[in-house]
Amino acid sequence: MTDCKPEELLIASIADMLTGLRHVAVGNSSPIPGAAALLTRARSKGELRVSLLGSRKHTAFTDGGKELFDCAAEGRIDAFFLGGGQIDGEANINLVGIGDYPQTKVRFPGSFGSAYLYFLIPRVILFREEHTDRVLVPKVDFISAPGTSPANVYRPGGPHALVTGRCIFDFDKAAKRFTLRSVHPGHTVQEIRENTGFDFDEPAKVPETPTPDAGTLALIRGRIGEEIAETYPAFAARVFAAA
């Protein structure tokens, strides 16, 4: 598979992590996770519900902005996605800024629902396309939401994996460490070490991230491209227009 775009690889890789789930929600500014959830839904023959924030067509919610959070608290959402201006090796995420708060020298949009959903949704997939030591840091400057919590804190949820433009990591909650799961085609373990600000574990032989098959690619470029365009027109135009 030579003509698979990086975005398509990420969509397919994330979609594979959602197979068999009942309800996946997708937050703001998340076109690739949104497309991935819609792809899994398309393959699930109606088994998977997707609630895409900002969409009118692809959402199961009718009770306003609070419903996502109430739904999560009741265990009715199986997977969600969070990003971060910074993500560290213990899976702490920073959506606020770099430098001393509140007058940070770099400011990000804000924490959104992360400080809550990270605790409550079982399978939170961290996603950040940019994989540099600017983003993946030893320690975040501001913890919007912590990767792990003490035993007495109510926390059925937490980080499941970290997907970047170069690779996929799994997260071990007990060890509080990431382990390299696979490297995307065209990238190397050495390059990932050089561009990752935190230490991580790796297996003796690191597999390559599988590329989507022709049927999956056709589905992404057809139906999924159309569905995601409702909420993310600029993304859809950029990635799928020339496909």
């Binding site: 703001n28 919610f61 009718t62 609070k66 959104f112 809550y116 501001f142 913890i143 912590p146 007495n152």
Partner: protein
Amino acid sequence: MAFTSHDIEQIAARIPDGAKIALPPDYSGCAMAVIRALIRRGAKNLHIVGVPSVGLQGDMLIGAGCVATLETAAVTMGELGIAPRFINAAKQGSIKLLDGTCPAIHAGLQAAEKGIPYMPLRGLLGSDLLEHREDWKRGENPFGEDDPLVLIPAIKPDVALFHVAKADRKGNAWIGVRRELMLMAHAAKQTFITAEEIVDEDLLADEIVAAGTIPGLYVTAVAEAKQGAWPVGLGGRYAPDAAHIAHYYEQARSDDGFQRYLADHVHAPKAAE
């Protein structure tokens, strides 16, 4: 009737300087015409509550110097990226930031609508948000053992301001599934609404319509504003004006550009309104 006799300038005049004002995100219903009128009248020291985040409304009010305090889970311009005037103000330290998280804002408003002092909330423990929010407290589940929680005080806005597709002459306002607007109206002391159209029919008469309608009971005043959410969209009616928002985004990246934008699109013509 009194409810619907207002125009947008009159609504802006009734939102006092220093008011705590609840605003919805760009994908809900934004009363952009009133936001421009607030800037024209030189509103000062507003305390914005994003329910739970704000977009263009927040960025414009901040850039125009109308805001003293920003309480929100985020400021976002959607696919374009980070709101430029907000970023500038945060770096300069020119506004007070009360960084929050979406469910904490909903919980605070829910406490207000119930008339109770606080709501307990899951999550948040171990977040630096909690360290910086002096108004949030750690608590314990009184029905459990060693089960820490965070207590969020009621958020009672002086004003809720938003835009809807349709209102009637009794101040009933149809919101469909945008129930955060209902929550805002329940929690706020005063609610000002702009509507694409003001209709003669009673929106509470038909149960199907009534189910998605804020009763006039909670509404202070309604003004008709065609394309009142422009340049952001209004679900079911019109899409965002992506070209104009991109133009704003480019202009707002510099102080001069932002002032030019205000001159061209806020101060100069009454045409837009």
